[in-house]
Structures are given as C-alpha cells and as structure tokens.
Symmetry: C2
Subunit: 345 residues, 2 copies
C-alpha cells in the first residue's frame, strides 16, 4: 500500500537516482529539484524500505542484542533500565534495535545467527561470564560489537568493552566498613557465574586481606537479584552461629529484601547492622528512599547504555573507536545505612 521509489519517480518525472540523491543529501542535485522531491515525500508519506536499503548499502541503522529468556527464567529489572539508555542515544541517530530472544544455553548460537543474518550493523552482549565463549566468537565474526562488562579469565583481551570497576567499588565499600570497625562482613551477590559478581567478591576479599581480616566463605551468597533472594539470605545469615555486622548487596533490589528481614526482627539499619548496596540508579527504587537511606556504590546503568549505543553507532558510521576499552569508576555515596560496628564484636 505504501508508495515506493519507482512510483514516486514516475510521479515526479525524475529518475530514481535523482530522488535517492536528493533524499540522502548528495550535492549534485539542484536546490529546486531537491525541494520538489522533499515536498512530494511529505505529501505521499514515502519512506524508503529499510530492507531494500540494507540490501543495497549493507547497513540499515540497527543494533542487535540478544535477550536471554526462557519460560522459567525471571526477567531482569536492570534490563529495562539499560535499554532505556541505549534507546535514548539510538534515537538521536535514527537507529533502532533488534532484540533476539534466546534460550540462555543457546546464546552463542543466537549471536552467530544474528551476525550472519545481516540485519544488524553491530552487536551488543551483556551478562558476561567468567570465560565467555561469545567474546572469542565475536572476534571471528567480522561485525562491530560492544561488550558490556568483561570476562575474567580469558586469553582474548583486545575487544571493545564498557565496564564499571566492580572490584574497586566493592573494595572501597568493604574498606569503609572495616574502618567503621566491622570485622565480619557478608555479601549478597548476583549469580556466581557472572563476571561482575566474581569481581565484586574479589574486591571485597582484597580489602579484607589488606586489613589482615579473614575471608569467611559462609558469609558469601550468590543468586538471582530479587527481593526474595535478598530476604532469604539475610535471614539465613542472621540465624547463623556468628552473624555478620555488615552486609554488601550487589543491587538495591537485593537490599530491599535484606532490609525487610532486618525490620522484621526489629534490627535497625546503620546501628545493629550496616549495609552498602550497589546502586544502578533504578528509577523505581532509590536508595535515598529506603526507610534508612542506603549507603551505595553508584553507577548509572542508563548512562552506560547510552554510552554503549554511542560507541557502537560511531563504529558503524566509521567514526573511529578502535577497540576502545572503558572502565568507569563508581562513586561511594555514604548515607545512613552504615555506622560503627556494634560493641561486643
């Protein structure tokens, strides 16, 4: 139903070439012709067919991402926030994104198919694992890509990524707790196979070791970043033989559950228990709005999304970014959920 180039060219008595050039800003079209074309486009509502455009040019303004999904698997709150950042930037350059849902176990296959399908200009991957097979795979695939995060033990190093300094963040947070006199510190972390979780644990461990404190594995728990998991772990820790006096949480969502467990027992945050959470700046859950405002390590997930889109797009448009690697430091924001360790410990 929608009009195409050929029809438009017949209407105007011009060649398809001229119209194409007029639309794409080539200089060899007279001003008069160009405005005639633009007027006709406005009136007819003509839009170039993207598939044809892509076939002809090899690119069509789209970023690809694979979204891990499965019937039983929970969706991730952080995904929406990240997408918002990505979109915010993409819209400036008239890019859209193609989301391919994929079973978690087939992510590598989906990446490969997405790249070969030829309908994305660049690829994005996240939820990086320790030694993520997708990274070497992408290297062989000959398509621009960006990694959100970075692998831990891997021979491949020269790939473009944006990551936050997870180790540094949790190192700093732990050090603050130690300075406040805490000796037993718990960690409620994300799933153990994710690189960010590995690094956060590492940062915590490092600070403990630097200060001559033991690292107690029983205080560390990995799982889904949900309210329920935070609650469950906190309960378990409090019921343990020798509960910690401070807790690190990998997300404010986990903190939500953890705090609830404290409330239920009448324990006061910042006095009976200190807590520092990592804050991705989810708009629906602000650390300053907790009953006791939360001390956090802060880094905007949305800003990361925007930056990643920016870099992918500039690579696609050939404006550089030769495998640049970016590591963002997080901010340690001290609020009321941290306080001196209770006596008797």
């Amino acid at each position: 139903m929608t009009i195409n180039l050929k029809q438009l060219s017949e209407m105007l008595g011009l060649s398809q070439t001229t119209i194409s050039r007029a639309l794409n800003g080539f200089p060899e079209v007279s001003a008069q012709t160009r405005s005639r074309v633009l007027k006709a486009v406005r009136e007819t509502g003509y839009r170039p067919n993207r598939a044809a455009q892509r076939l002809a040019t090899g690119r069509a303004g789209s970023l690809g991402l694979v979204m891990p999904i499965a019937a039983g698997v929970d969706s991730d709150v952080h995904f929406g926030e990240f997408l918002a950042g990505l979109g915010e930037e993409a819209i400036k350059h008239d890019f859209h994104f193609v989301i391919n849902p994929s079973a978690p176990e087939d992510e590598a296959g989906m990446v490969r198919r997405l790249a070969a399908s030829g309908n994305v200009d660049a690829l994005y991957i996240a939820y990086v694992r320790r030694d993520d097979p997708r990274i070497p795979l992408l290297h062989t695939l000959n398509i621009p890509f960006m990694v959100h995060g970075r692998a831990v033990d891997q021979s491949v190093h020269d790939y473009p990524f944006l990551d936050i300094d997870n180790t540094g963040a949790f190192h700093d947070a732990t050090r603050l707790l130690i300075q406040l006199g805490h000796r037993r510190i718990g960690l409620i972390n994300g799933p153990a196979h994710f690189a960010f979780a590995i690094r956060r644990e590492k940062g915590m461990k490092k600070a403990l070791v630097e200060n001559g404190l033991p690292f107690d594995e029983t205080l560390v728990h990995h799982g889904q970043m949900t309210d329920s998991f935070g609650h469950q772990v906190m309960e378990r820790l409090l019921d343990g033989p020798n509960p910690p006096t401070a807790i690190l949480c990998s997300s404010t969502v986990l903190a939500l559950g953890a705090v609830r467990a404290l409330d239920r027992r009448g324990l006061k945050l910042g006095r009976d228990m200190s807590l520092i959470a990592h804050d991705d700046e989810l708009p629906m859950l602000k650390p300053e709005n907790f009953s006791v405002p939360l001390t956090t390590t802060r880094s905007s997930l949305r800003a990361a999304g925007a930056r990643i889109a920016e870099r992918m797009i500039s690579r696609v448009l050939q404006n550089g970014d030769p495998a640049e690697q970016e590591l963002w430091r997080t901010e340690l924001i001290v609020r009321d959920s941290t306080g001196p360790a209770p006596r008797g410990h």
Copy 2:
C-alpha cells in the same frame, strides 16, 4: 565474510533455487539432495540474509514496538517484564522484535514510520491513552497490529486488543474493602492520561456508588508508578484532615513506597490501614514477600506479553485472529494487608 546463497550453490553444483527449496521445506527436492544441502549449511554456517529474504518475500519474522523514551523520562519496570513474555513466545516461532525508541510526543509519527519502513511484519502498541490517536492511525496503515489495553472514549472499536479488566479489578477490590467496613478509601494510581488508570478509578467509583458511599476526589492521586510517588502520596494522605482507612495501589511498586510511609509512622498494615495493590507479577517484587503480605488483584504481565506475541505472529502467518478482542479477568488474592476498618471511623 559470511557465505551467501550463490557461493553455496557453486560449491554444491546446485542451483540457488534448489537450495532455497531444500531449506524451506518444499516437497520437490529429493531426500538425498536435501541432506547434502543441510550438511553443507551446517559446515559453512550459511544463514540466509534476512534483509534479502524480507525483500523477496515481504516478510521476515519481526514484530515492531515503539518504546517511549526521553532523556528525563524514567524507564518503566513493567516494560522489561512484558518484553520477557513477548520474547518467550517469539522465540518459539523464530521471530525477533524491532524496538524503535521514540520521544513520547512523537509516538504516532514513529508508528507511521515503522509501518512504512517495511521491516516489521506487525506492530504492537501499549501505554494506551484515553482517546489514542495511534489506534485510528493503525487502522489506515494496512499492517497487522495488536493493542495492549484499549482506549476509553473513541469512535473506533473494531481493533484487536488484549486488555485486563481494570474496571472489574478495582471494583472488586473496592467492594472487598467496603465489606470490611471501610468508608474512606484512597487510590494511588498511574498517570492520569493512561486508559488503564482511568478504568481503575472508574471501577473504584462504581463500587462506592453501588454502596451509597461518596467518592472523594482528594483521596485519588495520579503519577509515575515509582516507589517515591507511592511514598509521597501516602504521606500526604496521612497528613490530611481526614485520612482514609484503606488504599488501593495501581502497582506493587507504588505499594512499596506506601508501605514504607506506614512503617515510618508505626502504622500496621491490615490493622491500622488496609491496602490492595494491583500485581503484575514482577519477579523482583512479590506481594507475598512484603512485611505484611499484600492483598492483590493479580494478572500476569508476562503472560499477556506471550499471548500478544502469539496473536501477532498468528496474524502474520495468516492463521486467523480476525480482530479478536480479549479481556482478561484479574484474580483477587486476599492476604494480610486487608482487615476490618479500625473503630472510630
């Protein structure tokens, strides 16, 4: 770098036609040839170029959605959950989706462009307004579409949608509160221009009227569905001259903030104040995990996403769905956040 049909056909000494047919399951290819082709495909990693496929067939297995986005606008937690449902179903049919970010004020324009661009087979719209201009627009656009929700005052009625019975949900919830003896009931709702918010308010009003109770506008508040807004409204209501004894919340996220306001004042949920929230089944925030488990009107957003994908795909594949309209009833799940109205009221 990736191999194409022509190269593959030369490798095998077969025509492109035969390979295409072998791959797409046409009967007129001998079993032997077919398996030879499949073997070669496996070995070379050949994938048909989607853009070419789309150009040739007119379809390419993609659903389009526009995502409202802007620099200052918060991302919506519910979006990710919905997307999960959509993806879960899409993957079964090897569909992907194309997300076009759009400034909220240009959503109609983006819908039009997306339809004309020809790179989606069907369109999805959500965040329906009272009299949403996108619906009549889609009607003229000659592309399959699905509306999540439905408009309120609109001359156009014959479009395919999936909606939940928002009026019924809040009617039932309100009736329960009235039966428990509540006379003053507050409502913390989503943004006032959204159809779902309008219907929820209507449902509440209806129950009040049916029971001869007055509808007090000062107890109704509209805004972003965030923790902060829930908290802010609850504080304001409690500080008012004649506070309600029960509250309806349009989301568990709003309830989160509202409950926090109650906790801060030492008010006990289910005793000093009753609360019913609408529950979209966000995995990160379960009503049964609140300090006092929440009574809710429940409906799975994820299931809605899956169903919408299913219907769009079946329309694209010509398997029917002649403008079918679906209205899902919600379940009223009674937990501990509702109780008899306190005496003295």
